[in-house]
Amino acid sequence: MAAISGNKIKDFFKSGRTRNALTAYLFVSPWIIGFLLFMGGPIIASLVLSFFRWDLLSPPHFVGLANFTDLFKKTDLFVPSMIVTFKYVIIAVPASQILALGLALLLNQKVRFRGLFRTIFYLPAVVSGVAASVIWMWLYDAQYGVIDNLLTLVGINGPNWLFSKNLALWSLMIMSLWNVGVPMVVYLAALQGLPQELYEAAELDSASGWDTFWHLTVPLISPAILFNLVVGTIFGIQTFAQPYLMTNGGPVNSTLFVGLHLYEVAFHYLQMGGGSAIAWILFMIILLLTLAQLRLANRWVYYESQ
């Protein structure tokens, strides 16, 4: 009996399929190990942490759902920070997409120096968020900044952008438009892959430019629109460097993004559990938003293979 099962084991290991599978797993092992150590493990740990109160100095103690319920208290900054973040995302992401698509459409016309323009619009994307924040802080300066200075030329008395309770968030939104190069490039690639015959047919049918755009172009690039919306939302929600450096969440918490709030809770107030609770709610929201966007996509995204 022992001899037979010994052979079976030997055969199992000698079989091509098994050897192939083992080799494959060997190649994939770096990711698996990394995932367990630095992602999967931490994800679970962070969930567990959210039920404890721990400041790293004294031992953690269990508080059940208190970290979560505390977030919704009137004095807690979590809900305000979510409102700030969503105000930003609801406006900045669609605005960026519209501008990006507009730029891509412009560049898609047979313009000369298309490469130069494309480079100019994409350039801000390689600029460090920190450097960008510094530059725009100087641009927005109330006394010596260029923006207010240019406005004065037109007769408008420029406001104190980053220090105004009402305008600070808008200032950050305007700044985010500087980075439309990334979605623009995606749209450009999509537009350049469109079949010309459809447009010629539309022209022969004397379709108006607007009609062509809405009923031909938009459906054809809808996968790109979906991609950009999903990615834009995920990154928009996690905005950190700009509010951290430019306004520090102020004035009066009007730019307290949830990422910044989380950072303060975890690393300034040393509430590891509280921070984890915020992180998990954020995670769930991002997941739900993405799933919702993908679900809705069935209604309006058009794939050529269909």
Binding site: N20, A21, T23, A24, Y25, F27, P30, W31, I33, G34, L37, F38, M39, G41, P42, I43, S46, L49, L103, V111, F117, F121, P124, V126, V127, S128, G129, V130, A132, V134, I135, W138, L139, Q143, Y144, V146, N149, V185, A189, A190, G193, A224, F227, I237, Q238, F240, A241, L262, Y263, A266, F267, M272, S276, I278, A279, L282, F283, I286, L287, Y303
Partner: protein, 312 residues
């Protein structure tokens, strides 16, 4: 403007020519519209380009000013002469022995960036190769899992990772910024896998017939043919690690170990009052490598998106 003129056109014209004539006649007034449209397009592009370049211009402009020019009203659009001193000052001075200079921070950042680059290229390509070329149980589920990790916000793993680094005594060292990069990144794995799948399988099969191992195929066939995606990933990775802010921020405490981004962020605190001309000079220095890298590899960078077929 009547179509009849084309109907009486000589029969030896080709169908295409006839269609063109018809179109030219029907849409004849579009010529002017076409010219107007062209002018409008160029005008828009030029105005928007100017707006997009304005921050860059103002950054360089400010970095070359002397303090009095800085606060002049109306603002100085072109400083005379260029205050190169600002750059010299920023590059060489540090506030004290325990504070870094730009060069020191740049060196710190370079260590992390170069490591990140190599680590990403090596580990992601290994994993991507398996998904592109091999069959194994659980392959699809695992790949979906890898993609799924893209949705996990850094905030979720940030705190437990911090605790892990603390337990390992790795806080305030570079290990947390070096080690995890060697385990493959989901996005890069995805990009590389897409590219690897475009390499004809016949090469693999021919090599297998000659007794090559999987590793041989990876090393001798796939990698050499993957220059475009490797270059694209390398550039993306360089920019990512060079500009990384939040991760070093929570790990590094000693100012001498700061990365460039942290150095820039703390710049204002290192002087008694904010010296914008110096801060701008520092900004120029920090973005220069990425800008240059981008200029030299533009085509790769921007076509890397095409390669992976962003359009479905």
């Amino acid at each position: 403007m009547s179509p009849q003129s084309s109907a009486t056109a000589p029969k030896h014209r080709s169908a295409q020519e006839s269609r063109d004539r018809l179109r030219a006649i029907l849409y004849g007034n579009r010529f002017r519209a076409g010219l107007f449209k062209q002018i409008l397009v160029y005008a828009l592009l030029i105005v928007l380009s100017a707006l997009f370049l304005l921050p860059f211009y103002w950054m360089v402009n400010t970095s070359l000013k002397t303090p009095d020019q800085l606060f002049a009203i109306p603002p100085v659009w072109f400083p005379h002469p260029f205050a190169w001193d600002n750059y010299v000052h920023v590059m060489t001075t540090s506030l004290g022995p325990q504070y870094p200079s730009v060069l020191r921070s740049a060196a710190n950042t370079l260590i992390i960036t170069v490591n990140g680059l190599i680590a990403t290229l090596v580990s992601s390509s290994l994993v991507a190769y398996a998904f592109a070329r091999m069959e194994f149980p659980g392959k699809n589920v695992l790949f979906l899992g890898i993609l799924g990790t893209l949705m996990v916000p850094f905030a979720v793993i940030m705190i437990p990772q911090f605790i892990l680094w603390k337990k390992l005594n790795w806080l305030d060292t570079y290990w947390p910024l070096i080690i995890p990069q060697w385990f493959g990144g989901a996005w890069n794995i995805f990009l590389m896998r897409q590219f690897f799948m475009t390499i004809p399988k016949e090469y693999d099969e021919a090599a297998l017939l000659e007794g090559a191992s999987r590793w041989d195929i990876y090393w001798r066939i796939i990698l050499p043919l993957s220059r475009p995606v490797m270059a694209a990933v390398a550039v993306f990775a360089f920019v990512f690690f060079w500009n990384d802010f939040l991760n070093p921020l929570i790990i590094l405490v000693t100012p001498l170990k700061f990365t460039l981004t942290m150095f820039l962020a703390n710049f204002a605190m290192m002087y008694q009052y904010v010296q914008w001309q110096l801060w701008m000079a520092g900004s120029v220095i920090i973005i220069l490598p990425c800008l240059m890298l981008f200029f030299f590899t533009q085509n790769l960078f921007l076509s890397g998106i095409n390669i992976t077929g962003m359009r479905k």
